[in-house]
């Protein structure tokens, strides 16, 4: 192994170590949150770094086919982010809808209940609308 090859190998290993530390830091961010958007963004960043690390390994080992895997990984990473956002938006819409339905049923029940005081009914309805 010539001096240049040895230096290149050391450089690639150093770069991989730096990126490994960064992945751990981003993983901590993903766990810490606090919002869903933060977590998804962190996962997206980990995907990007993973793709780059695969390319570095491909150069280090001299195996070009690893880059094909990184292309596939890029596609799957993108797809996962898009689908997770869609799923989360769907879950949120479902929760809002079921809360709305529950509210409407509670209002109906309240209207059917014989109340002695009409003012109290008005007050309860106003509170629910808030």
């Amino acid at each position: 192994m010539s001096a240049v090859q040895g230096a290149a190998s050391a450089l690639l290993i150093g770069i991989m170590l730096v990126y490994a530390v960064l992945v751990v830091l981003i993983l901590i961010r993903a766990v810490a949150g606090p919002k869903v958007a933060d977590r998804l963004m962190a996962i997206n960043m980990i995907g990007t770094i993973g793709i780059f690390l695969m390319a570095v390994v491909a150069v280090k080992l001299g195996e070009d086919y690893l880059l094909d895997i990184s292309i596939i990984y890029a596609m799957i990473s993108f797809l996962s982010v898009v689908i997770l956002t869609k799923v989360y938006m769907g879950v949120h819409d479902f929760n809002v809808l079921s809360r709305f339905k529950k509210d409407r049923e509670a209002k109906k029940e309240l209207k059917n209940r014989p109340l002695a005081d009409e003012d109290e009914l008005d007050r309860l309805l106003r509170e629910m609308e808030k």
Binding site: V4, A8, M45, F52, A55, D64, L67, I71
Partner: protein, 105 residues
Amino acid sequence: MEWVRFCTAAICLISAAFMESIAVYGVYKFRFCMNRMHAAAIGDTMGLALGALGLIILKGFSWFSLKMLIVVIFLWMTSSVSSHVIMRMEYSIDEDSVKEETGGK
């Protein structure tokens, strides 16, 4: 000549690692997810492009370069779309906090 190539590749790769570190620092520094997304985009675009350039220079021009270029172009296109989709989700599920952070717009 080989040393010149190695030094250029090393500068590119170290700059890429530096850019990615800036992105991670920004993700920790900012408090709101839109600002964090801005920081994360640095690593996804500049960091990845510099890293790919460094690897291409280190490896020499071949089919590897073309594949690397495809990866970079694909990630440049998808990174912005992912950011947009994530932000749309955040806006649709928590509109109030986004409006509060952006001054009610």
